[in-house]
Symmetry: none
DNA sequence: TATGAATGAGTCTTCATTCAT
DNA sequence: CATGAATGAAGACTCATTCAT
């Protein structure tokens, strides 16, 4: 994000898209939030969709960067995933209005306007997923994880983060809930015969 | 669904909402799909939101009915969840356009228009989740499952179903993917020390 | 009004047009009020405008009949006008919603739809006014009234009736108000020099 | 009327509402007449009703201002009322399409949409009527007028202005008609016994 | 005749986008 | 670069009218 105003707009857009969702969000809302005029938005972005796409891109890039910087850490795969999990859960927790802003299913929007988005976002989403998958793969190699399909497990992992947020709606204690959910992700819900004898 | 035309409209709406999502879906699209005039929609439903709400309600009711009819089956909790999982995964697989039509996060839409929806859908969603939770509770009692929070596990379970759909986008072999995902749900991804020696 | 159902519809229409006015009144309102189906209205009247026109016509005819039957009464012109005044004031008093249903200015509606109405109603309105004018003329001949233009005085008279209704809005005591207004009509508001010495 | 475009819109609206009436007037008509795009109307006014209300308000305010500026003139009450009468009769004469745009009975519209209007317009209407009533009161004090109820007389006066307009429909010579009508208002139509001996 | 479900033309209103300043 | 007034395409919704039963 070279430009300062561009950043301001993206931040405003993030806030607005978070609280209203893509369609109900109006360009004027974003402009107001950014403290610029409506017309200014069009100096930095082609259209509404473009803002959304750039925002997604930016967030995914940041996420990918974080993931890549973690790859070489000496922590275990489990620890890495836990750290990612906590970070994302925190990020999601701000998104009161719209669950899963950068969420996997947005990838699938097929509206006329959205099609172009797909081309921009999908590849980054895949890259993002692949980065998680790489950690999982390492975990498998290191005998931390079972021999699961890393990509499927990656998607599974990302979806799990969303459970935290949805759980909020149930007024489940956040900290506890989050730990429970992580636990379920790593260990499943099935009672291991051996465990049962503990 | 007493009325035949009402059914036709709801089916058309389901198709349209599935493929476009709520906002981009136009009343005319639904009318065309249903083979009726625009005005006819308003003979059966108050407005666009109402169609959506009724559709959600209907699907949730069906789902809850299915769940309730399963409660007394003699199958294990695991078998029950697997069956539900497969059923839902199949249903979702039709929803090419919009992931998670009846999905937990829709609960959280806060648009002006959506507020009334919340009152209609949220309770049914909760009922739905509670039905899953009851199965999980049985599973805990029967020593099939760990002592997890049944509601959190229920939400976790429902989210897992969505993973199947998202995986499609990765062109992952459906049957395989689905089984993998179920396996992950029940057993987690963590390698059990004892297992590792198998 | 030959037909019984036609009468029922016209009565219903009168009530509805009275309370809502022409444009906001819906055909369904009239049908409901008449206790018939919407389609039935079209068996008796060409369209909404037609109902209105027939209603106006009917009321004007009744009014003209009343006036004509009064022409030969031996009462003074003043007494006649007073009687008419009271009768109309009473009729108007029912029209809470729409002032002056059969009112002189409706004659002037120029909406596309209304044009045909003009041809039907205007002549009757004129006939109605002429009947009042004739009474006034008699009054002039009998030295009850000044040598005013009878038609202008007729219109003036009709408008005066409306003052009663408008006065209601001022919470002016109806009986008193009505008498005051009549008094003003007949005697004006100017203090006669001779009178002042009484 | 600060804004220039707002003025243009109100003027256009006045013309359109005059010629068509409130309901048949389309927003597009007003936009076309004002030489702006439909959307522009909504930059200055909330909705169609709002335009109408503002227009009424504006006209009533102008009228009240005129009346208030006249209060302290040294002319007699009769002269004042005549001047007002002539002014209004002139204004009305432009309103070919809709009689009595700012007319007392509009006060009574009860349509759903109109309710808010009532709150805005009614008080101003009352103020307007009270201003006329004040002149009449002065006339009574000065022994120009009889001891009539000033408010009733005020309403009576305003309605009288409308008679001029309606008389046009009778192709009555305007100037003459107007004088006749004023004469009738001030002196009534009843022949004074003393007068009769003239 | 009577019905009322169905139609679709007609309107208001919103909002992304443009462009003169 | 920035503005925000202006635009007009698009879409939800209403309701007079029709017509199969």
């Amino acid at each position: 994000m070279k430009n300062n105003k561009e950043t301001k707009i993206l931040q405003a857009a993030e806030k607005v898209f978070f609280s209203k969702g893509f369609f109900p969000a109006r360009m004027e809302d974003i402009a107001d939030e950014a403290g610029v005029a409506k017309g200014t938005l069009y100096l930095y972005f082609k259209d509404k969709t473009s803002i959304y796409v750039h925002l997604m891109s930016y967030r995914l890039e940041v996420a990918v960067n974080v993931l890549e910087s973690m790859q070489h850490a000496k922590t275990s795969a489990t620890e890495k995933l836990e750290k990612i999990f906590d970070g994302w859960a925190h990020y999601y927790s701000q998104a009161k209005g719209m669950t899963s802003f950068i969420s996997i299913e947005n990838i699938n929007l097929t509206t006329e306007i959205m099609k172009e988005m797909e081309n921009q976002i999908k590849p980054k989403m895949f890259k993002f997923i692949d980065n998680i998958a790489r950690i999982i793969k390492t975990g498998i190699v290191n005998h931390e994880f079972k021999k699961v399909n890393p990509q499927v497990a990656s998607i599974f992992f990302l979806n799990t983060v969303r459970v935290v947020q949805v759980s909020h709606l149930y007024k489940i204690n956040v900290k506890d809930g989050q730990e429970m959910i992580k636990e379920m992700f790593f260990n499943g819900i099935k009672l291991n015969k051996k465990e049962s004898k503990r």
